[in-house]
Each structure stands twice: as structure tokens, then as C-alpha cells.
């Protein structure tokens, strides 16, 4: 039965005691969400199978765009770099983040100041942070200066112009900025670890590692799920830092799907092909999000 008719007929008896707003209050937000998210994404998915350039006529090209992505060496490298940065940053920020959280958890007198300081990079603009690191990685910059100081002159290099090292330099920049975020998630998780159980385990002779593995880690499992899922989704779409640090170079060594989407669609006007790259990225993100939910769900369910 249509809800409207139902309401008219039964209004005198079924009218709720309190009227919680009008239904049309939700309308502007719903229209915006449908327009900006659903309609745009579906249209983009359609463009991915065309050769549209943003102007004039377009043709349906089927899977041609996708065949081009996976046969072009530069673009397959971009796909691998996307994976490398996402997985690398998740591993790095989660391992270091959990260590930071354990390091400042409980008893420390200055734990709130430390938390504020270690979280600070998270609020900064990724672009601004990238410029600071660009300076650090310069050939006559502080990193090479430090290596020279400790007698490792042979390790000195132009980090961002080196095809083997530039992607790792970007990874460190990302990790530096987002470790505070995982730390804060783990601090919130650690607050839920039952202190009595941990004390009891310690009295029973469990070492630091045993307590972490058997008491702390199971309690913070939800935090691990949140931190890794958000980290993967963020990591797969990294753009700002790459664009500022290397612009995708040297010779495409640090291109990712995100930088290629921007270049193909908005610099070269290949809207169809750019959308195909975006569709690949979308499927990768959704795939990882589902996989993550599956891997980090608690063993009981």
C-alpha cells in the first residue's frame, strides 16, 4: 500500500503524538547526495566506455580504454605504484602508530602534550607538508647533509629524481603526516583494554609481548579494522603529495592512478579514458574495502 494513501485514511487515529519535523526537510540533502555522488558516479562509469573528449561527438568503444590501460607499461606501473603507496603507508602508519600509542598510553605525565604534538601533522595541508619534505630531499638538503655527517656519503642522492628511490621518499612523507591519525585511533582503542585483565596476565607471568598479543591486540581489533580500512582508502587516492614532490616523475616512476586520472582527463582532455582510469581506481578501492572488512572482522562472527 502506498504510504501516502495509508496516512490519509488513518490520520485521525494513527497520527503520531509528536511530529518530528517534516519529511521534506530531508529533501535538499538527499538531492545533493544523489546528484553529487550517485548520478555523477554512474555517468562517470558510462563515460569510461566512450572516447569522449569533453567536446562534441563521442563513440562507444567498449573495453578499449581498459585494454589500453593494461597494455601501456607506464599505466601498469601507475597501478602498481598505487598499490605500493597504499599498502606501504598502511603498514608503516599502523606499526608506528600502534608503537606510539603504546608508548604514550597511561602513566606518562606528559601524555596529552605528546599526543597533541604527534597528532599535529595530521591537520596540516598535505601540499604544504610535501613542500617541507621536498626541501629535505634536495641534493644539498638536510637529509643528505645528515648522511654526510655520519659518514654515509655514498648514500647521498637526489632522492626525488632517482627512479628507484622517489616512490619511497613519497611514502615516508605520507607516513610522517598520517601516523598521528592511526596513533589516535589506537589510543582510543587502548582505553577500552580491561586494565584488570592486563594486570592479572602480568601477575600470572605474561611478558610484555605475551600481554600485547593475548590481551591488548584482541581488545583493539576494531581499531585495527578502522585504521587499516581508512588508511587503504586514503592511500589509494593519494594525489597532492605526489603532484607537489615529483609531479609523477622522474619519467613516470611515481605516477599513480590518481595522478594519471588528473593528467589524462584534465590536462589532455581525454575524459573517456580518464573516466576508465577512475573506474579502475573505484573498483580497486571497493575491492580493498570489502577484503578489509572480511579480513579484520572478529573471528566470533
Amino acid at each position: 500500500m502506498p504510504p501516502g494513501r495509508h496516512r490519509i485514511r488513518t490520520r485521525p487515529t494513527k497520527k503520531p503524538l509528536i511530529n518530528y519535523g517534516h519529511w521534506w526537510w530531508a529533501l535538499p540533502a538527499i538531492v545533493l547526495v544523489v546528484g553529487v555522488h550517485y548520478a555523477a558516479t554512474l555517468t562517470g562509469g558510462f563515460f569510461a566506455f566512450t572516447d569522449w573528449t569533453g567536446l562534441g561527438r563521442w563513440n562507444w568503444v567498449g573495453f578499449e580504454n581498459f585494454a589500453r590501460i593494461f597494455s601501456d607499461g607506464k599505466l601498469t606501473l601507475a597501478v602498481w605504484n598505487t598499490f605500493l603507496l597504499a599498502i606501504g603507508s598502511v603498514v608503516l602508519t599502523n606499526v608506528v602508530g600502534i608503537l606510539f600509542a603504546l608508548g604514550i598510553n597511561r602513566t606518562l605525565k606528559s601524555r596529552y602534550i605528546l599526543r597533541t604534538l604527534l597528532f599535529m601533522p595530521v591537520v596540516l595541508s598535505p601540499l604544504a607538508v610535501a613542500y617541507v619534505w621536498k626541501f629535505i630531499y634536495q641534493f644539498d638538503g638536510p637529509l643528505n647533509g645528515f648522511l654526510g655527517l655520519i659518514g654515509l656519503e655514498s648514500w647521498q642522492k637526489t632522492w626525488l629524481a632517482d627512479p628507484n628511490w622517489s616512490i619511497w621518499a613519497i611514502l615516508v612523507t605520507i607516513a610522517w603526516q598520517s601516523t598521528g591519525f592511526t596513533m589516535v585511533i589506537y589510543l582510543a582503542g587502548l582505553a577500552s583494554v580491561p586494565q584488570e585483565v592486563e594486570e592479572a596476565a602480568a601477575i600470572d607471568g605474561a611478558g610484555v609481548w605475551g600481554r600485547f598479543w593475548h590481551v591488548v591486540l584482541p581488545s583493539i581489533r576494531p581499531s585495527v579494522a578502522i585504521a587499516t580500512t581508512l588508511g587503504i582508502v586514503q592511500g589509494l587516492r593519494i594525489f597532492d603529495q605526489i603532484y607537489a614532490l615529483t609531479g609523477g616523475g622522474p619519467a613516470g616512476a611515481t605516477e599513480t592512478l590518481a595522478t594519471q586520472i588528473y593528467k589524462q582527463a584534465f590536462q589532455l582532455g581525454q575524459f573517456g579514458f580518464g573516466s576508465a582510469l577512475a573506474l579502475v581506481l573505484t573498483l580497486v578501492i571497493l575491492g580493498f574495502a570489502v577484503l578489509q572488512q572480511y579480513l579484520t572482522r572478529s573471528p566470533k562472527d
Binding site: 519535523g21 519529511w23 550517485y38 599535529m120
Partner: protein
């Protein structure tokens, strides 16, 4: 057992050393920006300036035209504030209705919003850009506010929904008994009660909007309306290796957000730790 022992003191010292090492890039940033043009090239990166020189800051603040950092900051403030107003107003209204009503459509709407949070935005960027271009909304602050209000709406509705679900209906019942209509009840009773959720929405969405480079580059690139990150990118591109000036731009762009952070760091951290647990 969790008392302050010698081992705790050692741990505290180690964590301070780590924190200071983590903040070393910020130190380099500040000292370099305060050096003169010549000293910035010749001196060591970690050496403090021999004489504090605000020349780089003066040059950046007084820059004009496309490079005007102050104008870009004003644009960033307008776009961020306008989007937050839209998100708070439309987001809270939507969340209120769908979490207080239990009809099929309200549940459906909630899931519609929830899925949109996970849906990556990249695929929609091209159609949105073309749509905005055809409507003359690229390069305009209003267009950007509209875009951001739509983009961040799922997160705002989700945050408000979880808040309203935990909020008892007693206040609204009392207001209804006293004869207040739904509009009056919402604006006089519910709106003041929801300020913690509004704080989380403003901080999380505001930070994403303020710091965004990708969308601003696409929708505002090449126009006269530049946000801070886009202006910073253009400006830095014209300053080849003049690091004291580059860092002056970077610092000026960081000041508003750091000031906010110092002022409300607890809300920032709690917003991130709690708000994103969806």
C-alpha cells in the same frame, strides 16, 4: 602496577626524543623561512638564522594578483565556512528526520547516505566538472560551496544520525506538550542540543575542505578564485628554490589551521578518533 616507575620515566624521555625528531621538519620550516635570501642558500638547514629576517613573509603577504596569498586565504575562508553552514543546516535537518522517523523511506535514505560515504569520489569528478562548466559554476566560490556541501553531505548526515539516535526524545516531547510546532521545536530545542555533533561535523568536514588541493585544482584552476593550496602551488612554481619564501607561504597557509588546532585540540583528536568509527 601502573604506577610511575623508573621504566616509565625512561619511556617518557624516549617518547619526547621521538616527538622532537618527528617535529624536526617543522623546525626546519620555521628557521628557513626566517632567514634572509642569501642565508637561506648558504647556511645549514638546521642552523637558526643569524638575524631574524621577515623579508620573505613581507614579500609573500604583499604579493598581488594570481599570487595573492591573502586573497586566496579569504577565498578559502569563504568556501570552507559556506560549506560548513550548508552541511550543518541541511545535514542536521536530513539526519533529524530520517533518524526520528521509522518509515521505510527513512531507512532507505539512511543506507543511501551510508553507501555514498564508501563510494570513492574520483569517478564522479569528470561528470561533475563538465556539469559545473556547463552551468558556469567552475571558478566560482558558490559553485565550490555547492560541490563541497554535496560531497561531504553523507559524512555530515551520518555523524548527525548517530548523534540523534543517542539523544533522548524527552525534550521534544516536552516542547510539543507546551504547544511548540515541529519547526519551533527543531530550531529552539534540538539545534542547541546538537552542538557537540556540529563541532565534529565542522572540524572533520572543514579540515578536509580547507586542505583540499585536488578538487580545488580542477574546479577553480586557472580562474581568479583560488583557494590557499592552489595559490600556494602556483606561487611556489614561480619561486624556483627560493626556499625561505616558499616556506613563508607554507607557514602562512598553516597558521589558521594550527591556531584552530591549538585552540580546540581535544575536539580535533576526539573528532578523528570517534567521528570516523563508522
Amino acid at each position: 602496577m601502573f604506577r610511575y616507575t623508573k621504566a616509565t620515566a625512561v619511556r617518557e624521555v624516549i617518547m619526547w626524543i621521538i616527538a622532537l625528531l618527528m617535529l624536526l621538519p617543522m623546525y626546519i620550516l620555521v628557521v628557513t623561512a626566517l632567514k634572509s635570501d642569501e642565508e637561506a642558500i648558504t647556511s645549514s638547514a638546521i642552523a637558526p638564522p643569524t638575524a631574524i629576517d621577515f623579508g620573505a613573509f613581507v614579500e609573500v603577504i604583499t604579493s598581488t594578483g594570481r599570487n595573492s596569498i591573502m586573497l586566496a586565504m579569504l577565498n578559502s575562508v569563504i568556501i570552507t565556512a559556506g560549506s560548513i553552514v550548508g552541511l550543518v543546516l541541511l545535514g542536521s535537518l536530513c539526519a533529524y528526520v530520517i533518524s526520528r522517523r521509522t518509515r521505510t523511506w527513512s531507512t532507505f535514505t539512511f543506507y543511501l547516505v551510508l553507501i555514498a560515504i564508501v563510494l570513492p569520489a574520483q569517478l564522479g569528478t569528470v561528470p561533475l566538472y563538465i556539469g559545473a562548466r556547463n552551468l558556469g559554476l567552475t571558478g566560482s566560490a558558490f559553485g565550490m560551496i555547492l560541490l563541497w556541501t554535496g560531497m561531504m553531505m553523507p559524512l555530515a548526515v551520518f555523524l548527525y544520525s548517530s548523534f540523534f539516535r543517542g539523544l533522548s526524545t524527552e525534550y521534544e516531547e516536552a516542547a510539543t506538550i507546551d504547544g511548540a510546532g515541529p519547526t519551533k521545536t527543531f530550531f529552539r530545542i534540538v539545534l542547541p542540543l546538537m552542538s557537540p555533533a556540529t563541532g565534529t561535523v565542522a572540524i572533520l568536514c572543514g579540515l578536509i575542505i580547507w586542505n583540499d588541493f585536488f578538487n580545488s585544482l580542477i574546479f577553480l584552476g586557472g580562474s581568479n578564485v583560488q583557494t590557499l593550496p592552489v595559490a600556494m602551488y602556483t606561487y611556489v612554481g614561480s619561486l624556483i628554490s627560493a626556499w625561505n619564501k616558499i616556506f613563508a607561504v607554507v607557514i602562512i597557509s598553516m597558521i589558521p589551521i594550527l591556531a584552530f588546532y591549538m585552540f580546540a585540540q581535544k575536539q580535533f583528536i576526539q573528532g578523528y578518533a570517534g567521528g570516523l568509527k563508522g
